[in-house]
Amino acid sequence: MVTKPLTKNIDMSRPPLDINAYEANDGYQSIKAIAAGLSPGDVLQVVKDSGLKGRGGAGFPTGLKWSFVPQGDNAPKQKYFVVNADEMEPGTFKDRLLMEGDPHLLLEGMILGSYTIQASVAYIFLRGEYKASENTLRQAISEAYDKGYLGKNILNTGFDLDIILHTSAGRYICGEETALLNALEGKRANPRAKPPFPQVSGLWGKPTIVNNVETVCNLPGILTYGVDWYHGLTEGIDHGTKLFGISGRVKTPGCWELPLGVTIREVIEKYGGGMREGYGLRAFLPGGGSTDFMLPEHLDLPFDYDEIAKVGSRLATGTMILLDDKTCPVGMIGNLMKFFAHESCGFCTPCRDGLPWVDEIFNEFESGRGSEKDLQILHEHVDYLGPGRTFCALAPGATAPLGSGLRIFAEDFHRHIKEKRCPYKH
C-alpha cells in the first residue's frame, strides 16, 4: 500500500522522474479514469469525501472551496485554476521539495482540479527565486503536452487545458490569493476586498480557484487509490499525509511526509534527531512565521488542525521553526517583524505604518534602549494589527508570534530593559 503519496517518487539525489517513469509508478492514472468516464461532479464528490484541507496555511476544505465555482450551462465559459507556488512564508520549504522532486504530481493534480471546475487555462504562480523549480516544471509541462495530457481534447475527453508557468519577482504578499490574482493580471499586488470571492469573480473577473502546491499534489493519490485508502493513512480526525519540516538547531533538519496526527515530539526527536548537543528546546513556531509560539509542554500533541488550534496556534504550513535556549527570543521576534514590515504591501494604514513602528522598537530593544513604554506600545500593536483591523491577513499573521511572544517571553523583554542590552550577547 502506498503510504507516502506525496513523496513516493522523490529522491533528491537524482533528477525527478520523467513522464515515462512517473506513469510507470501509477502516474496519470487519474486522468485515464477521467477518459474512462469520470465526470467533474464525480471528482468533486471524491475530493469532498476525502476531507482534504488546504495545505497553504488556512486549512480550508478543498472540496467545499471548489463547490463555490459556478457550474452548468449558465456558468461563465472561461474559468481559471491557479496554483499558489509563491512559497515565501518564513521557515517554509515544503513546496520547493514537491516541485523539484516530482513536478508531474503537481501537473496531474492541476489537470484534475481544472477538469473539476472546467477551467481551460491553469497558471502556476511560481516564486521568482525558485529557479530549480522553474526548470523542473518547464521540462515536465513540455513532456505532458507531448503525451497528450495537456493541450486540446486531452485523451479524447473533449476537455482542453493549457498550463502556463508564471514566474513572479519576489513579494510575500503575492501568496495572499487576491493579491496573487492582481499580480497575475500585471497589477501592483495589493489584496482585493472580499466578497466577491475568487471562486465567483477572480482572475480577470472570471471564476477562479487558487490552491497551494501541496494541496494539489494530494489530488492524484486520492483519485487513484480512493477515499478509503486516503482515510486509512491517518488515525486521527484529519486525513492524509502532510509535509512536516524542521529548521533550527536540531541534529538533522529536514522535511518529511508523515500522517497528519503524528505527535510533534516524534517529528522533532525521531526525524529531526532531537536538539543538537548543548542546546535545549525553548519554544517553536509550528507552521511558519505567522503562527503563535508553542512550548515544550505541547510536544505530545498530535499535529493536526484542531489540536494545534486548541492551544491557540495554527498548523498552517507544518514547517516548524525551533527556538533554542541559546538564541534570544526578542531577537527572533524582531527578525520576524522586520520581515513583515518589509513585505507589507503598503495598502492599508495599520500594516504600512504599524509594522515599521514595531520593527523600530525591536531595534531599540536590540541596542539596549528599550523601555517599559516601548513594551506597552508593542502590546497595543497586537490589537491594532489584529484580525479585523486590516485589509488582509498579513498583519494579523505578524501579531501571532508577536502577541504570543510578548506573553511567553515577558521576562526576556524585561531583562533587555533592565540590563540595557541583549542578555544573550556575550
Binding site: M88, G128, K131, A132, A169, G186, S247, G254, G331
Partner: protein, 171 residues
C-alpha cells in the same frame, strides 16, 4: 495613450532589441491582455540589460501601450526588479528567521568584510551587488544565499570565500 518621454528630464524610450521583442511577443500569447505581460516584459529587459533603466521602462510602456505610472508601480513593487544598475552577479542573501537563528548575521559581516560592501552596495569592480532577500525556502540548510541563479547552502565563512573566489575567477 502611453508616454514615451519623461518631460521633466527629457529621457526618451530606447529601442527594444529584436530578442527582447521576440520574448515579449511570446509572453503576449500566454495572457489575455497586455497589462498582464508588464512584469514579464520588465524581467525580460532586465535579463538582457542587467537592470531596468528609465529608457527601458519607457520602451516597455510604449511597446505594450501601458501607462508609465502603472508599469513603474509594478517595477518598484517587486524585490527582484532592479531600477538601479547592479553588479554582474547579484548576491541574494537570506536574512529571515531560520537563517537568523543559524547565524546569518555573522555570514553577512563576513561578506561585508570580504567584498567591502553591505546590503544595497555594489563592489567597485562591478562584479557583485549584495542584497538581502526574504526567506529563500531552504531553511533546513540554513544559512543560505543565491548568487545569480545558483543557491548556496549551509554557509560558513570558508564556503563563502570559496564561492566568491569561484565567481571572481569567471570572466
Amino acid at each position: 495613450m502611453s508616454e514615451n518621454l519623461i518631460a521633466t528630464t527629457a529621457i526618451k524610450a530606447r529601442q527594444l532589441s529584436e530578442e527582447e521583442i521576440k520574448e515579449i511577443e511570446h509572453e503576449l500569447e500566454l495572457y489575455p491582455d497586455k497589462q498582464a505581460v508588464g512584469l514579464e516584459a520588465l524581467k525580460i529587459v532586465q535579463k538582457h540589460q542587467g537592470w531596468v533603466s528609465d529608457e527601458s521602462l519607457l520602451a516597455i510602456s510604449k511597446y505594450l501601450d501601458l501607462p508609465v505610472a502603472d508599469l513603474e508601480s509594478v517595477a518598484t513593487f517587486f524585490n527582484l526588479v532592479y531600477r538601479q544598475p547592479v553588479g554582474k552577479n547579484v548576491i541574494l542573501f537570506c536574512n529571515s528567521v531560520s537563517c537568523w537563528i543559524m547565524g546569518c548575521d555573522e555570514m553577512r559581516t563576513h561578506i561585508n568584510d570580504k567584498l567591502g560592501v553591505d546590503f544595497g552596495g555594489t563592489t567597485e569592480d562591478g562584479r557583485f551587488t549584495f542584497l538581502p532577500v526574504p526567506c529563500l525556502g531552504d531553511c533546513d540548510r540554513a544559512p543560505v544565499m543565491m548568487v545569480g541563479d545558483d543557491l548556496h547552502r549551509n554557509l560558513t565563512p570558508e564556503k563563502i570565500n570559496q564561492i566568491i573566489s569561484d565567481y571572481q575567477g569567471k570572466a
